[in-house]
């Protein structure tokens, strides 16, 4: 980890007008231009930094306030997830999947279980699928709340963080009611879900959703159209569509640039083809299309869509039914040989799980396609040329979770 100050070649002096008396006005002395020799400075942002959303180190080369080069350095949270996948049995691996994107743990559980069910050719009963949908969408709302709350914190707004956490605590209470954990759920298991919905759970979710839209309006009043927030995020970090696709961006980052691409629509998994919901995209409302404000706005709108999907799932939830596929002996679960890739729409983008199985009790190769890993690679393309304060706003708008980036 060498962070020596690199002595680059001195930057060219700013151009000065040929006439040294330029700027002279009657009664005012002429401007004097002094030769200033500047040097590029290398500074470290992170790994311990309040705004990097985790242990991310970005080595920045700055010329004054302008970033000239950025080199993200990751790996500070590398927890050997893929090696563990090869050594631990299928059912024992579900808690590890919680810990990649710990803000959207249900979605990670789901991606892993769908991949294993694809390779092992298991069929999940309908009630389990509805409960999975409700859990996953609630978790999407919680994850976006965290994203917008901490984004406000990054650009200097302290209050929205507490408002977002207040709603998030309510969702965590609901998820804790059904599975016992607040953050790392281990709830969606191979073949179904761990536990059926208890009495009153569904009614409480409806009560929460009724209140939630009003609270989102309150949040909008506070942050979204706030003049200072708009000035800090509009026209900052513009990512054009072609660049977004080339760098593998998915999720709200891609939709913020204008491309209406959502895996719940394009390649429906679970029961998403039965629900009516819109896919919000950025429109350049406050500035340029694809700026930080657009990505933030897409997240705010997605929360409303998730609430809509939750309501429809609750309305269509079948009365009784199995919550686990038949003949799944979890402790001695052996998959069939084969390879399968499943990509689902995580709150941060396309979460994929590529499984190579040779028929044993643990996978031969588990490869995780983490959306934040791919989203983060765009940093060294868009950070140069921005100011240091804008760099913080850009990193916050990409909404990364380091557990996922490093796995």
């Amino acid at each position: 980890m060498a962070d020596s100050v690199t002595a680059a070649a001195p930057l060219p002096t700013p151009s000065r007008p040929a006439d040294p008396t330029a700027g002279a006005a009657p009664g005012r002395p002429p401007d004097t231009f002094v030769d200033v020799r500047t040097q590029e400075l290398q500074i470290n942002m992170g790994p311990q930094h309040p705004s990097t959303h985790g242990v991310l180190r970005v080595a920045l080369w700055v010329d004054g306030e302008i970033v000239t080069r950025a080199d993200p350095d990751i790996g500070y949270l590398h927890r050997c997830a893929e090696k563990i996948g090869e050594n631990v049995s299928y059912i024992m691996y579900v808690p590890y999947t919680d810990r990649y994107d710990y803000l959207a743990a249900m979605n990670n559980n789901l991606g892993y279980c769908l991949a294993v069910e694809k390779v092992a050719e298991l069929e999940v009963p309908e009630r389990a699928q509805y409960i999975r949908t409700i859990a996953v969408e609630l978790n999407r709302i919680a994850s976006h709340l965290m994203a917008v709350g901490t984004y406000g914190l990054d650009v200097g707004a302290f209050t929205p963080f507490f408002y977002a956490f207040r709603e998030r605590e309510e969702i965590l209470r609901l998820l804790e009611w059904i599975c016992g954990a607040r953050l790392t759920y281990n709830f969606i298991r191979i073949g179904g879900v761990m536990r059926d919905a208890p009495e009153g759970w569904v009614a409480d979710i409806l009560k929460f959703l009724d209140d939630f839209e009003r609270k989102l309006d309150e949040f909008d009043d506070l942050l979204t159209h706030n003049h200072i927030f708009v000035q800090r995020t509009a026209d900052v970090g513009v990512i054009p569509i072609e660049k977004a696709l080339a760098y593998g961006l998915t999720g709200p980052n891609l939709r913020g640039s204008g491309l209406r691409y959502d895996l719940r629509r394009e390649a429906p998994y679970l029961l998403y083809d039965r629900f009516e919901f819109d896919v919000p995209v950025g429109t350049g409302m406050k500035g340029t299309l694809g700026d930080c404000w657009d990505r933030y706005w897409v997240r705010m709108l997605e929360m409303r869509e998730s609430a809509r999907i939750c309501r429809q799932a609750i309305a269509q939830l079948p009365e009784g039914g199995e919550i686990m596929a038949k003949n799944v002996r979890h402790l001695a679960f052996k998959s069939k040989p084969g390879e399968g890739y499943v990509g689902i729409e995580n709150p941060r983008g396309e979460f994929g799980y590529y499984l190579i199985s040779e028929g044993g009790s643990s996978s031969y190769r588990s490869r995780i396609r983490a959306p934040s890993f791919c989203n983060l690679s765009i940093l060294d393309a868009i950070l140069p040329g921005t100011m240091l304060g804008d760099a913080v706003a850009i990193i916050g708008s990409i909404d990364i979770v380091l557990g996922e980036v490093d796995r």
């Binding site: 790994p47 311990q48 985790g54 949270l77 590398h78 927890r79 803000l103 607040r182 953050l183 557990g403």
Partner: protein
């Protein structure tokens, strides 16, 4: 304290001076924002409004180690990060305390077996004052850890001479069979569990 540290005789009156200093230190522990992984989210939840940590005085999170006195290491520490943790610990000014939050910092957590670059417990390279187990620990558990640390600080001798007082842990739950809670800076690495201490034997009986 410098000049006056451990200089006063051990009588009741000077014990009051100790209590005053310790009360000041314990009631305004300023944590460093050092969230590494999932436990960081629970640490943020402790700082947020439902499980307010500010009412215990520990609410002013400082981003820089120079101004913090409590380093809550929240999340898995791997080889690359351990160098950073050690450097941050060295940059903190005395008196400084370390809380190992979460199973990963206590003993490697779920990555204890196949995590080839995970450090199995941060007490392998920094001295830890309180371990809070859990994956992630509930915010109430973190609050209990902070309370625990406050009682430990109250029992220290700063100005007077002599052995540290025994901390008063009444009301703090100690699970039977747990070792290391009463002497957190001693790391037990023997293969067999040590003989149960009187406190835990009393709880088991």
């Amino acid at each position: 304290m410098g000049l006056f540290e451990r200089s006063l005789p051990d009588i009741h009156l000077t014990r009051l001076a100790d209590l005053a200093v310790n009360w000041g230190r314990a009631s305004s522990l300023w944590p460093m924002t050092f969230g590494i992984a999932c436990c960081a989210i629970e640490m943020m939840a402790v700082g947020a409004s439902k499980f307010d940590m500010d009412r215990f005085g520990a609410g002013a999170f400082r981003a820089t180690p120079r101004q913090a006195d409590l380093m809550i290491v929240a999340g898995t520490v791997n080889a690359k990060m351990a160098l950073v943790v050690k450097r941050l610990y060295d940059q903190m000014a005395e008196p400084k305390y370390v809380m190992a939050m979460g199973a990963c910092t206590v003993g490697g957590g779920p990555y204890w077996k196949h995590g080839y670059n995970v450090v199995k417990g941060i007490d392998k390279f920094v001295p830890v004052d309180v371990h809070v187990p859990g994956c992630p620990p509930r915010p109430e558990a973190v609050l209990e850890g902070v309370r625990f640390l406050q009682r430990k600080i109250m029992a220290k001798r700063v100005l007077t001479r002599g052995e540290h007082h025994a901390p008063d842990f009444t009301g703090v739950s100690i699970a039977p069979g747990t070792v290391g809670i009463l002497e957190p800076t001693v790391r037990v690495t023997t293969a067999s569990p040590p003989a149960p201490s009187p406190a835990t034997a009393g709880a088991q009986a």
